[in-house]
């Protein structure tokens, strides 16, 4: 994917910084809003080059909708992960069968890969050990399938259908 224009990337950075400012101060007092706008304009000018490659393309409505749908899905997966951890820790026999498996991903975008790695780390029984190109090395606490295809099916597939739309 090519880079967006400089203006679009700059505006996107300023928008994100300003929204974070609004959340952090949690007040709509005009004085605070103005100083926040000035600061985000300045910081945006200094940092937009490293912050985003696609600019306002990130705010495509389809991407935003998929992202909103992804949040409850991800939180539910996290709660399941923790119940799984609870079961393994509290069970007297400690039912673990750890191993490092390899997965392939279809994502090509760097941000998408980061999001997938983070999602893998926070979901049931898996933690990302290393990423090389499109290969993920994952420490799995209960190995059910040692082959590359099988592991991808169980670990990365459920998230890819969302992340493909959000980041590609």
């Amino acid at each position: 994917m090519g880079e967006a224009s400089k203006i679009s990337r700059y505006v996107h950075t300023v928008l994100v910084l300003f929204i974070i400012w609004l959340f952090l101060t949690s007040s709509l007092d005009p004085q605070e809003v103005i100083i926040g706008a000035i600061l985000s304009l300045v910081i945006g000018a200094l940092t937009y080059e490293v912050f985003t490659e696609r600019g306002l393309g990130n705010l495509n409505p389809k991407r935003v909708l998929y992202f909103i749908a992804y949040i409850p899905y991800f939180l539910w997966a996290m709660v399941l992960a923790n119940l799984d951890v609870a079961y393994r820790v509290l069970h007297p026999k400690r039912p673990i069968k750890p191993g490092i498996v390899e997965c392939k991903t279809v994502l090509t975008n760097n941000t998408g890969k980061l999001a997938l790695a983070n999602s893998i780390t926070l979901t049931p029984g898996t933690i990302t050990l290393d990423v090389k190109g499109d290969r993920y090395f994952i420490h799995w606490i209960d190995v059910k399938d040692e082959s590359v295809e099988g592991a991808s099916e169980k670990i990365t597939k459920p998230f890819e259908k969302f992340l493909k739309v959000i980041f590609e």
Binding site: I20, L22, F23, L24, S26, S27, M78, V79, A81, N82, V85, A86, R88, V89, L90, R94, I96, K97, P98, G99, I100, V101, E102, A117, N118, T121, L122, G125, I127, T128, L129, D130, K132, R135, F137, H139, I141, V143, E146, V148
Partner: protein, 137 residues
């Protein structure tokens, strides 16, 4: 006791329960990799519960809504940075040679590293050979 207070207190209790599980996991698990598994997941969800719970509790107890956005953004920052820290730690542990538990069934990473080393060795040999050919000419 308002409804918001009760929800907030329940969330904080939920969070502390997972904190306890997380520290219990540190004792129960056999090696550093499995410890990272329990510590990361439970501590992240526990923190989310405690932080957001505090925000909601403040609505019921103090009647102040300005806590919720702040706690939410702290929770989001934590959610984004915690897995990266875990990834950096577990990768550093592997690179510095911490052994896997003896019950471990498969280690694809070692195989991949091994094949990469072999490819590098072959490339080096090829380069040496081509240099020799050049000097002979």
């Amino acid at each position: 006791m308002s409804v918001a207070s009760i929800i907030g207190q329940a969330l904080v209790l939920f969070g502390t329960f997972f904190y306890v599980l997380s520290s219990l996991g540190l004792i129960r698990m056999p090696d550093v990799y499995n410890r990272m598994q329990t510590a990361t997941k439970s501590a992240t969800l526990g923190s989310l519960g405690v932080i957001v719970g505090t925000g909601i509790w403040a609505v019921g107890e103090l009647g102040s809504y300005s806590w919720i956005p702040k706690t939410l953004i702290i929770a989001v920052f934590l959610l984004l940075t915690n897995p990266i820290a875990a990834h950096a730690l577990i990768r550093a542990a592997y690179k510095s040679g911490v052994p896997l538990w003896e019950g471990t069934v498969v280690d694809k990473y070692k195989e991949a590293e091994g094949s990469l080393e072999r490819v590098n060795e072959i490339e080096e040999k090829l380069e040496e050979a081509s240099q020799e050919v050049e000097t002979n000419e």
